[in-house]
């Protein structure tokens, strides 16, 4: 039970908003010491952990192309393009992206999007452009909300789409673990089929929330307008 102190350190550290890098490193060292590793083994663990997890930093490789197209105004162009489509709202843009992301992931194409390659250069500017067209201005706190929801649409789409595809990591993890540990023989296809009800539920729940986001924004802008003449009145 003592090893759970490491987990506690992480929770407390994140809660009081210390630098996460420090929190994670300290928690790792403490957990390793409690688990009986000596200092050399701890250094070894940090080294081999870094070496074997280099794949998660792959997003760095797409930054050069994203950087140059941003320099030449891709985000502005994405906003302009969306601005021409009168029926699009921030919520509907994100709903469309959620659908595309989930369907493509379900057929195994989950490398088609991502936070660095699509959300920052395309999806967020489009959602922001739709809000700009509808309301005329996008204050900082609303921009922040749209950013959060842009990244969220990507995550929800991939998480609950990819499991419908048979050859994805999580499905293969289940079959290898269960087959070797319990001597079952599970077909990846069976697991993928039973991921479909959750995939549909995820789309309905998240899609509903995105449409509600539009209504919330309508209300917030209405309140902003009410508040502004009032302050203008005070200034006199």
């Amino acid at each position: 039970m003592l090893v759970l102190i490491g987990v506690l350190l992480v929770i407390v550290g994140f809660a009081i908003r210390l630098n996460p890098l420090v929190v994670v490193t300290v928690a790792g060292i403490v957990t390793a010491l409690l688990g009986g590793l000596n200092p050399l083994q701890i250094l070894e663990a940090f080294g081999s952990g870094f070496a074997s997890s280099r794949s998660v930093t792959i997003f760095v490789a797409v930054l050069p192309v994203v950087g140059i197209i941003e320099y030449f105004g891709l985000q502005e162009q994405a906003k302009t393009l969306i601005g021409k489509l009168a029926k699009l709202t921030a919520g509907r843009v994100l709903l469309g992206y959620l659908a595309v992301r989930q369907i493509t992931a379900a057929v195994g194409l989950n490398s088609i999007g991502g936070h660095a390659q699509t959300v920052r250069p395309l999806v967020f500017p489009m959602a922001e452009g739709a809000a700009l067209r509808r309301y005329g201005h996008v204050p900082e706190h609303i921009k922040e909300r749209i950013k959060g929801h842009s990244a969220a649409a990507d995550n929800v789409g991939v998480f609950f789409g990819e499991d419908v595809f048979v050859a994805v990591g999580s499905i293969l993890l289940i079959t290898t673990f269960v087959d070797t540990t319990y001597h079952l023989h599970l077909e990846p296809l069976q697991l993928a089929l039973w991921a479909i009800p959750t995939a549909i539920a995820a789309f309905l729940i998240h899609g509903f929330r995105l449409l509600r986001l539009d209504k919330q924004l309508d209300r917030e802008y209405a309140e902003l307008e009410k508040a502004e003449p009032a302050t203008a009145g005070e200034a006199k």
């Binding site: 630098n19 890098l21 688990g35 870094f50 936070h115 990244a151 999580s170 697991l191």
Partner: protein, 322 residues
């Protein structure tokens, strides 16, 4: 064969190039510290190749990683806010290039997906061209290079290294958060080694009332959720909770359909991934990438989906698997 290590070397070269740009920037608020951080990180990507192969000692890399953390913790790292095009210039460029700007943006996913799909037939003799164990990573890296070249050809910037200059700006706005996903994955390994998994599953099974199917389903799903929140991914949570409850109680005792129990169980874990800063690559790197004020803004946007979906998963398992 294009090995995944080549991809890591490409990333290493980029980090070192950015470090050189930073050290040459006299206006940078933390020129030396920032340059040291990114340069050392780049070297770690090269050295990691031999650690991974088992031909170089891992503890040296361990020291380097701790130095990186120390540099970040002592605020040696800062955003140099590299110069870029102004708002008006961007509007003008956008008006000039119009929808041509989307071509490089779309080249990246199209090339990546094509390479992934064609990988099985792309062979020289019998040797595959793309590393078969890491096809997606290699394909994405090639897609990124092709897209950058396409961008250079279409947009014709004054300097051919514009993609490198501009990506330095994005990298510096992400800052130390770029290292976080790898550190969290190391923490996950240390947690597992030290037996955090077994400790948590003892706790969870301790609170479960015996003999109730509904209670067992709830404890399995919620357990996977909580465990994923703590460990940062469902892959670490799944084997432990399945060994504690999924297999012995749900499948053996209550005769649940194993495919349904395990498929939905994993998805209950994914609901946890939506809620945790431990899943930094999904939740914290994007907020840094989008330059959000609130680091936890992505998680906030996801909570309203994660909790109802956990309830749905629990209900689906209860009604479909038994």
């Amino acid at each position: 064969m294009i090995n995944v290590e080549a991809v890591y070397w490409l990333i290493g070269i980029l980090f070192i190039a950015w470090a050189v740009l930073i050290v040459r920037d006299a206006n940078h608020p933390r020129r030396w510290g920032s340059s040291a951080f990114w340069g050392l990180l780049g070297l770690c990507f090269f050295y990691g190749t031999w650690v991974q192969a088992g031909t170089a000692p891992g503890w040296i890399l361990g020291i380097a990683v701790l130095v990186l953390v120390a540099l970040a913790a002592t605020r040696q790292l800062a955003d140099g806010r590299a110069k870029t095009s102004t708002g008006e210039q961007r509007e003008a460029f956008a008006a000039r290039f119009g929808n041509k700007l989307f071509i490089p943006a779309l080249t990246l996913p199209v090339v990546t997906v094509l390479l992934v799909l064609l990988a099985p037939v792309l062979t020289i003799g019998k040797t595959p061209i793309l590393d078969p164990k890491n096809t997606t990573l290699v394909a994405l890296a090639i897609g990124a290079i092709v897209a950058a070249v396409v961008a250079l050809v279409i947009l014709r910037p004054k300097h051919p290294l514009t993609p490198v200059f501009e990506s330095r700006r994005i990298l510096e706005s992400i800052g130390w958060a770029a290292l976080l996903p790898q550190m969290l994955s190391t923490l996950g390994i240390l947690f597992t080694k030290a037996g955090v998994g077994t400790a948590v599953s003892t706790l969870v099974t301790g609170v479960m009332p015996k003999g109730s199917l509904l209670a067992a389903v709830i404890v399995y799903c919620v357990g996977l959720f909580v465990f994923t929140v703590l460990m940062g991914n469902g892959f670490a949570a799944f084997p432990i909770m399945t060994a504690a409850i999924g297999w012995p109680v749900l499948v053996q005792q209550f005769h649940g359909n194993p495919a349904i129990v395990f498929a939905i169980g994993m998805l209950a874990g994914f609901c946890g991934t939506l809620c945790t800063p431990m899943a930094a690559n999904f939740n914290l790197v994007p907020s840094a990438l989008l330059e959000m004020k609130n680091k936890y803004g992505v998680i906030t946007a996801q909570l309203g989906t994660a909790f109802p979906l956990l309830v749905v998963n629990t209900a689906l398992m209860y009604f479909l698997a038994f």
